[in-house]
């Protein structure tokens, strides 16, 4: 699949916008720590579920330290690497 970091970040922005609203997504910077700006654990899983649906993949079964992936940039990098390897 041909994807790059920009496409993944755009997808994340769209998903976050659907979940938290356009205004929230517009204010969210790439390095904001999710839990500090109002993205809680349920929002986080919903982002992943929507991403899985969009890219027909199974991210949530990955055995990784999710607590380390706590910003849009870190999440984007992880997802981009995963999609490229897929």
């Amino acid at each position: 699949m041909s994807v790059d970091m920009n496409i993944i970040m755009d997808s994340l922005h769209k998903i976050i916008s659907d979940i938290k609203g356009q205004e929230f997504a517009a204010k969210l910077s790439d390095n904001d720590i999710f839990s500090l700006v109002g993205i809680d654990s349920i929002d986080y899983v919903e982002i992943m579920v929507n991403f899985e649906e969009l890219y027909s993949c199974d991210i949530l079964s990955l055995e990784i330290d999710w607590s380390e992936i706590n910003t849009k940039t870190k999440l984007g990098e992880m997802l981009c690497n995963y999609i490229i390897r897929k």
């Binding site: 654990s41 349920i42 899983v45 579920v49 649906e53």
Partner: protein
């Protein structure tokens, strides 16, 4: 000898039959032996024309099918195992027996059958929405819903067109917060008494811990099933990282995902709102019941 012939023989000769529980909570279907000599259903009190044919959609391994066949054999009534939904409309059957999930799938055909005189819903709890859809599809039928468990057999039947069980039908049973005790057998079914009727709240072992909160998927499913624009739905759970478990909703209907989510956000706490997927079919297991829990 066919499976049906074996069941008929076991009923006539009062033998022990080996059945499978539905396994709706874990996906594992437990084997259970049923002594047909000591178990006779007294909940079906139907004045049925002997020339009628009973058609049932239940899996042959289930108590619901054995109970139906037993009723027919003892009353000398013709019966047929229905293998596709079209047979429910061909005019050859007058009494249909099926699960509420099968009824909801049949109602999606938007067809009607005026010749059916009786529909018996068993194997799962029948909500008002299912009973109403049944009355629309089979307008001349009396609709009965049966509460039964493979472990104890038929418990009671209700034919007043309303969801729930009238209080007096449970008078001999002990109803606790997370179980019901019937003739010494504990079932993890939860019932709530409201205005003289017991309403099913789901099974205690179906409750799911979502981010530290206990959620009852069946209760949630009932709320969503009754929303306008939702034809059929199922809630299932899945293990996920970070929050432990997540609830997913798969639904069929005209309402769009975003609108449905917005309605749920107004009605429910955040942890109760499932992740929503729109589909074309709600799958059932071999017993005709919705598959609610994924391992």
């Amino acid at each position: 000898m066919s499976k049906i012939e074996k069941i008929v023989k076991a009923i006539r000769e009062k033998e022990t039959l080996f059945l499978k529980t539905s396994g709706t909570s874990t996906g594992d279907r437990k084997d259970i032996s049923v002594d047909l000599g000591s178990r006779y259903s007294s909940v079906r009190r139907l004045e049925l024309d002997k020339t009628y044919t009973v058609g049932f959609l239940y899996n042959l391994d289930s108590w619901a099918s054995v109970s139906t066949i037993s009723f027919c054999v003892k009353n000398n009534i013709n019966f047929v195992k229905i293998t596709n939904y079209e047979q429910c409309f061909d005019g050859s059957v007058h009494h249909l027996c099926m699960t509420p999930s099968q009824m909801l799938n049949i109602s999606l055909t938007n067809k009607q059958n005026l010749s059916v005189r009786q529909v018996t819903l068993g194997g799962e709890y029948a909500t008002q929405s299912v009973i109403d859809k049944c009355k629309t599809t089979f307008p001349n039928a009396r609709v009965t819903h049966v509460y039964a468990a493979t472990e104890v057999g038929d418990i009671c039947a209700v034919s007043d067109g309303l969801e729930g069980i009238p209080q007096h039908k449970f008078k001999d049973y002990q109803i606790l917060e997370d179980k019901i005790i019937i003739n010494g057998v504990e079932l993890s079914d939860m019932w709530q008494l409201k205005d003289g009727r017991y309403y099913f709240l789901g099974r205690a072992d179906h409750r799911v811990n979502i981010a530290g909160n206990l959620v009852n998927p069946v209760e949630l499913e009932k709320i969503i099933q009754n929303l306008p624009g939702v034809e059929n739905c199922v809630i299932y759970s899945k293990r996920v990282p970070i929050i432990g478990n997540a609830l997913f909703l798969k639904y069929i209907g005209s309402i769009e995902k975003a609108e449905l989510k917005s309605i749920l956000q107004r009605k429910l706490n955040k942890f109760q709102i499932p992740f929503i997927k729109k589909g074309n079919l709600i799958e059932t297991n071999s017993n005709g019941k919705k598959i609610r829990v994924f391992k």
